[in-house]
């Protein structure tokens, strides 16, 4: 059952990864439109930088064997987004309603990110203590004594080093 839950967290992480890439591409493609809709004109470069961050985080989540640190990275990014949006919540902003809506949306996504990162962390099992395999030789005598024991093999002609290369590979 724990395995199944971990599988769900992985799926959720992949979904968040693709969401991150999509959001990032949108921020990179239309920074002016987005800043205008939030009453944050003049902060287009910041919007583009956030877009780059989202794309990088998304690729990280999708490509990492363990996406947990990348999902926590999204949580940190969410905090940055919320902080930035909070600065635009003042009464003088004519687009204050849009900012409030965006703030609520980011809060919701933040909750999802935290749930996902926590589930991923819980699903991880410790590798456990290192086992001792130093006696797993697989041969009856120490390797030094077994070296060359199979030299009786007649290496098939099609697997031999080409004759012109042999002097180089077998030279002492």
């Amino acid at each position: 059952m724990a395995y199944a839950k971990h599988g769900s967290a992985d799926s959720m992480a992949r979904g968040l990864g693709w969401f991150s890439i999509a959001l990032g591409l949108a921020e990179l493609a239309m920074p002016r439109t987005l800043t205008r809709s939030l009453g944050m004109q003049g902060r287009e470069r910041l919007m583009s930088a956030y877009g780059l961050r989202e794309v990088a985080t998304g690729i990280g989540i999708l490509s990492a064997r363990d996406p947990t640190p990348w999902v926590w990275g999204r949580v940190a990014g969410d905090a940055l987004d919320l902080g930035t949006l909070a600065t635009a919540l003042d009464g003088g902003n004519p687009r204050r309603d849009n900012v409030g809506f965006a703030f609520a949306a980011v809060l919701g996504v933040t909750a999802l990110d935290v749930i996902c990162a926590t589930a991923l962390g819980m699903g991880q099992r410790r590798r456990g203590p290192v086992r001792d395999y130093s006696d797993r030789r697989g041969m009856p005598r120490p390797p030094a004594q077994m070296r060359g024991a199979a030299r009786d093999l007649d290496v098939p002609e099609d697997m031999r080093t080409p004759a012109p290369l042999r002097p180089y590979t077998s030279a002492a």
Binding site: R125, G128, D132, Y133, R136, M139, P143, R166, T169, S170
Partner: protein
């Protein structure tokens, strides 16, 4: 019967499915007594190889007892114990007659698919995508073995499953990887990956007389096992592979390099590894060929690269300049299992090698799904999982 079925990325389940039936006079039905999870099964588990359908039975390392034989099969009889090679071969086509069993021209019943993907089709494989025939695999209670009058290896009396199970894949795969290096007594053989195939390649290289065998990995237990087999080890997470290989070869590089890793290389701190991860994440590249690149770079000029590791499709940033200008030779391919089985069986019987050393976990079929994750994540010292249906 019960069988492990693929249902999507990282979704393997132990399902109840219909029993197999004889479909051709040359077939046999085998009751599986032991089967194993292969490193290449993990490529299916992680969803890197296309051509799987939900419900496909996976697994291609298995052995058992013959319980039914087709009317045209004169090699096997009910009650025989057999190891079944993972490559299905007809024994009659031009490639089989030349000993190139893994590229049998007749056994892939979906060859038109494979022709499109690879130009020409390789052999059919058990439990390994519809590109290679869509044959139900061996992580099951019973398996239908096509062309069962050709490849299955009869097990002599008195030998245990654990001694002979790996004759079907990883032992001959590690062996062929070393043999096709044409090892000379003066050679240094560097082997990337100390998983099961890497472990057998290490011992094969020692038995074939290599002067020095070097194993490269980062998992402590696997490095431990590699040293037990006679290898000098390099932990790539802690030291520079390039520097250590230079030091160990007087600056000349290893004459022979073996890639026992394949398409899911786990290098973490190199630029090319990050590049591969990013491209793979957005589906712009199928494989992560870090090991191939590193081998081409470090191999001594006029040396040989042997690649038993599985690659699926398209690879980027391959240093062909190094490969061409150093005059390297590359030999690769799925293993021509039956080319080696008689010889290896004799070596096991004579005690030259005991393949069971690699088994670290033995569980029931129902525990198979969880063991896929344990094996993939190298948890609990896992090197090789054997399943008992």
């Amino acid at each position: 019967m019960r069988a492990l079925c693929w249902h999507g990325k990282q979704d393997i389940r132990c399902d109840t499915v219909p029993d197999p039936k004889i479909e051709d006079p040359r077939d046999a039905i085998v009751r599986v007594t032991s089967c194993a999870i292969c490193g290449s099964d993990l490529h299916l588990y992680d969803g890197f190889i296309p051509g799987m359908k939900s419900g496909d039975i996976i697994g291609h390392e298995f052995m058992g007892e013959v319980v039914e034989v087709g009317s045209g099969n004169r090699k096997l009889k009910v009650g025989d114990r057999v190891v079944v090679p993972f490559t299905i071969c007809c024994g009659e086509c031009e490639q089989c007659r030349r000993g190139y069993y893994s590229v049998c021209e007749r056994s892939n019943r979906n060859r038109s698919l494979a022709d499109k993907a690879f130009g020409h089709s390789p052999a059919g494989l058990f439990g390994y995508t519809h590109l290679t025939g869509g044959y139900p695999g061996g992580q099951a209670e019973y398996v239908r073995v096509p062309y069962a009058d050709v490849a299955p290896v009869k097990v002599p009396d008195g030998m245990t499953d654990e001694q002979v199970l790996f004759l079907g894949d990883i032992l001959p795969t590690g062996w062929q990887a070393a043999v096709q290096c044409d090892i000379q007594p003066t050679d240094t053989v560097a082997i990337w990956g100390a998983g099961p195939v890497g472990q057998f390649a290490i011992r094969s290289a020692i038995l074939l007389g290599a002067k020095q065998v070097i194993a490269i990995d980062r998992v402590p237990e696997r490095l431990d096992m590699a040293r037990a087999g006679g290898a000098i080890t390099i932990n790539f997470a802690k030291e520079s592979v390039l520097e250590r290989l230079k030091d160990l070869t007087d600056g000349k590089g290893p004459e022979k390099c073996i890639d026992a890793v394949g398409m899911e290389a786990h290098a973490t701190s190199t630029l090319d590894a990050m590049y591969d991860r990013a491209k793979q994440a957005v589906m712009a590249e199928t494989d992560r060929p870090h090991v191939l690149r590193e081998m081409m770079y470090v191999c001594r000029p006029a040396g040989t690269l042997s690649v038993p590791g599985v690659y699926a499709g398209l690879d980027d940033k391959i240093p062909m300049g190094a490969f061409m200008n150093k005059g390297l030779t590359m030999r690769t391919g799925q293993t021509h299992v039956n080319r080696w089985t008689d010889d290896l069986l004799r070596r096991i019987q004579e005690g030259q090698i005991d393949p069971s050393f690699v088994i670290t976990h033995t569980v029931g079929l129902e525990d198979g799904p969880a063991m896929y994750k344990t094996f993939r994540d190298k948890q609990d010292g896992c090197v090789k999982v054997v399943l008992k249906p």
